[in-house]
Amino acid sequence: MKNIRYLWILALAAVIGAPLPAAAEYPDRPITLIIPLGPGGSHDLHARGITGIISDILGQPMVVRLVPGAGGMKGTSEAAKAKADGYTLLFTHNAFDQLKPQTVDVNFNTLQDFKTVARINFAAPILVARADQPYKTFEEFVAYAKANPGKVNMGHSGVWGPAHIPASQLIKETGIKVNLIPHKGGGPALQALLAGEDQVTWIFATQTRPHYLDGKVRVLAVAGDTPLANDKDFKDVPTMAALGYSGVAFTMDRIFMAPAGMNDADLKKLRDAFEELMDHKSFQRFITSIGEEVMFMRGEEYDKLRPGRYESYTDLIKSVSGK
């Protein structure tokens, strides 16, 4: 039949026309980057800047694929199940990598199925209160919350999200009783704070800045042990560690992961490429323009941190869910 002949001709032409590589060098076709989040978020934004430049470094385009759903587990699962040939990578954060898989049934083993390629940066959540509240510092807040159990509404961006985790850690460490209000994402949580429905919330510096400058909110503390030294507005915000609550240490690490079965030479190539990316001027400019910083850590080092973090989250989960 004619149409079959056409198909063969086309295929033949395609095969002849394309340069046949002797040994396929990684990468020889586009790489898919799965982001287990919805469009428009900070990961999406970072990815846009990263993929453009890293495509030049690697020689093949890196293509973003958004797979939101199941609290980040849908995309993560897809990446875990993908062929470990290095053409499917995952751009996620540590809550999805080390904590979430412990809370729901997933069909992958996060520590075994993924290796880190690189950590791009991290964002430390800050505890923010409305300016009209009677407490001006973190200590005052804790005192107030202890004196008025259940009265303070603390909003967060979603269960096991980057605001809920430090909130749970805080509750565990200080023993205060607050009214934890879930919201569908950081945006609604911020809106509830501004509307006066919530009195405090955990959020990130970039979203808070305009409202801080407007005088509507006060920043009480930053989670973890690293102060926001480079931030002109928030460099004096005390860290949780300095305040004596080193258990409130959650920071959102933005990490690139690859399936664990990937061959070592290719993985090294990828890791080197990301390190090279950090030195690119246009990348640095991009990151600064979106209001973030570059805080690179090589994949191998981050992989050493993961099991420890994983365990600390296991304890946290137990204390919060009572299981």
Binding site: P39, G69, K74, P210
Partner: protein
């Protein structure tokens, strides 16, 4: 402030802005018309394109894509009965009927005019009342959202009462489907039976394709081969254009729907789908010929189309005044802003006033551009659908699958096919599936906002509701009274008549 406004005008005096807006509109229309491809997807994909353009070009471009996309969804809803987006579902009630009567062109033009006029009015209102709208939005919290959703549902239900039992069953089925997945309040997974594909819940696009596209395809396949090859959507008999008197009849509907859509646009989490349904139901209620609705009534196109476009204006307000995106679309727009180093928020009007006013004005002008573009492009688009079914069906099938795959996995395909099969069977049994979709969409917001409200109320729900949140209590009381009237009304009226006699 006024200076910035005037400066904004100056920024608009460049032809390339309008070129990019037009490109966006065309691309958006094209994407929206494909089943399964959402405008959000198109915008997300084109976001990097906008990075290379300056904000004055890139952002109107993306907004053009968005506006074009909503209308594109209506095109396929009217011509082949498959809504391109959730917002066009209500257009499938009267659209295909009009096409079958040979009035496809009238329907398309009515949709175009209602959409653009409503969008225009809503955008103008946003421009001039942005401060007021911002204030109102801050007053709307979970209890208000809950009561507005309930009120809307009652309105929708009161109008579709002739679906009767089957409509209610479809609605509860939709509710049940909507709860599959992860409970957002506690994080527990529900009704997933350990199937991975369901762990995130059923995504909306596979549901819409399954409920609308697949049964359409299956029904189209039913008729015999012989007559089949020559069967096509015959655009030559698409009819005449919309006459002025026909349009004039619907002006009130358009204005009413604009008000509805603008109001719903201020309520976060409700969105275009609900606005379209409420617009349709309100139009039907207010109409002198409600029995024509569903059989090919132009008012039934104007109602939902105007409402779902009027939502666009206010949804920009939280983005611009607070820097908070209300939905995926505004999240992408925020990304476009941020990538250029502009962070919307309280200071934006003093720092970048001219740019923001220029953007708002550009958005308003985009509507005007769209009337002309859309009018001109109607015929080619519709002609593209005029292909033989033997060509059209496989392409629609392939595109539906591609649409699901673009934000899902191959397991979503299985979900889609299963839903499609069940929807086909239910349609044969005379089920109207629109209540299913709207219940599905609203299942989570209802539960979520109720839970949040209860948390805020700290256990004392009545005091909280009536003392602290008067707006919510107004809507709820109105809703309850309405239900009471619906149930007892006829009985009371009968009694009164007896007494008078």
């Amino acid at each position: 402030m006024f200076e910035s406004f005037l400066q904004g005008f100056e920024l608009l005096l460049r032809w390339d802005i309008y070129f990019y807006i037009s490109m966006g509109l065309v691309v958006g229309m094209f994407v929206g018309a494909m089943p399964g491809l959402t405008t959000v997807l198109a915008m997300a994909v084109l976001l990097p394109v906008s990075f290379n353009l300056e904000p004055m070009l890139g952002i109107p471009f993306l907004i053009g894509v968005y506006k074009g996309g909503i209308y594109g969804g209506s095109i396929s809803a009217i011509l082949v009965g498959i809504p391109g987006t959730g917002a066009s579902i209500a257009t499938t009630f009267d659209g295909p009927a009009l096409t079958r009567q040979g009035k496809a062109r009238k329907a398309l033009e009515m949709a175009l005019f209602s959409s653009t006029i409503a969008d225009f009015l809503s955008d103008v209102a946003t421009l001039f009342l942005i401060g007021l709208i911002a204030m109102i939005i801050l007053k709307i919290g979970p209890p208000e959202i809950f009561s507005i959703i309930i009120f809307s549902l009652i309105l929708i239900a009161s109008v579709s009462s002739e679906s009767g039992i089957r409509g209610a069953i479809a609605a509860f089925l939709g509710l049940g489907l909507g709860f599959i997945g992860t409970d957002a309040v506690t994080g527990a997974s529900r009704m997933t039976f350990g199937i991975d594909a369901l762990s995130g819940g059923i995504p909306l696009i596979p549901l819409i394709i399954g409920v609308f596209a697949l049964p359409e395809i299956l029904e189209a396949v039913e008729s015999r081969a012989r007559t089949f090859i020559s069967e096509s959507v015959d655009m030559s008999s698409a009819g005449e254009r919309l006459r002025w008197y026909e349009f004039r009849r619907s002006i009130r509907t358009i204005l009413r729907s604009t008000a509805i859509g603008t109001g719903i646009g201020m309520v976060p989490g409700v969105g275009q789908v609900v606005a379209a349904f409420v617009g349709y139901s309100a139009a039907k209620r207010a109409s002198k010929t409600p029995e024509n609705f569903g059989k090919g009534e132009l008012d039934g196109i104007a109602g939902p189309e105007a409402a779902n476009n009027a939502v666009n204006g206010p949804t920009l307000v939280p983005l611009l005044t607070l820097g908070i995106p209300g939905d995926n679309v505004t999240a992408i727009l925020l990304g476009a802003f941020v990538a250029h180093g502009i962070r919307p928020g309280p200071q934006i009007f003093s720092e970048q006033g001219a740019l923001i006013y220029a953007l708002l004005l550009a958005i308003i002008i985009a509507n005007v551009l769209f009337i002309f573009l859309g009018y001109v492009l109607l015929k080619p688009f519709a002609k593209a659908i005029q292909l033989k079914k033997a060509y059209l069906i496989p392409v629609i099938l392939a595109l539906s699958f591609v649409g699901t795959l673009s934000t899902g996995t191959t397991s979503d395909l299985a979900v889609m096919v299963v839903i499609g099969l069940c929807a086909y069977i239910l349609r044969k049994l005379r089920f109207d599936l629109a209540p299913l979709v709207i219940a599905f969409v609203l299942a989570e917001p209802i539960e979520y906002t109720l839970s949040q409200s209860m948390l805020y109320a700290r256990g004392d729900i009545f005091e909280y509701l009536f003392v602290q949140r008067p707006i919510a209590s107004v809507f709820l009381t109105a809703g309850i009274l309405w239900i009471a009237w619906m149930i007892f009304g006829p009985w009371i009226r009968g009694r009164l008549r007896q007494q008078r006699a």
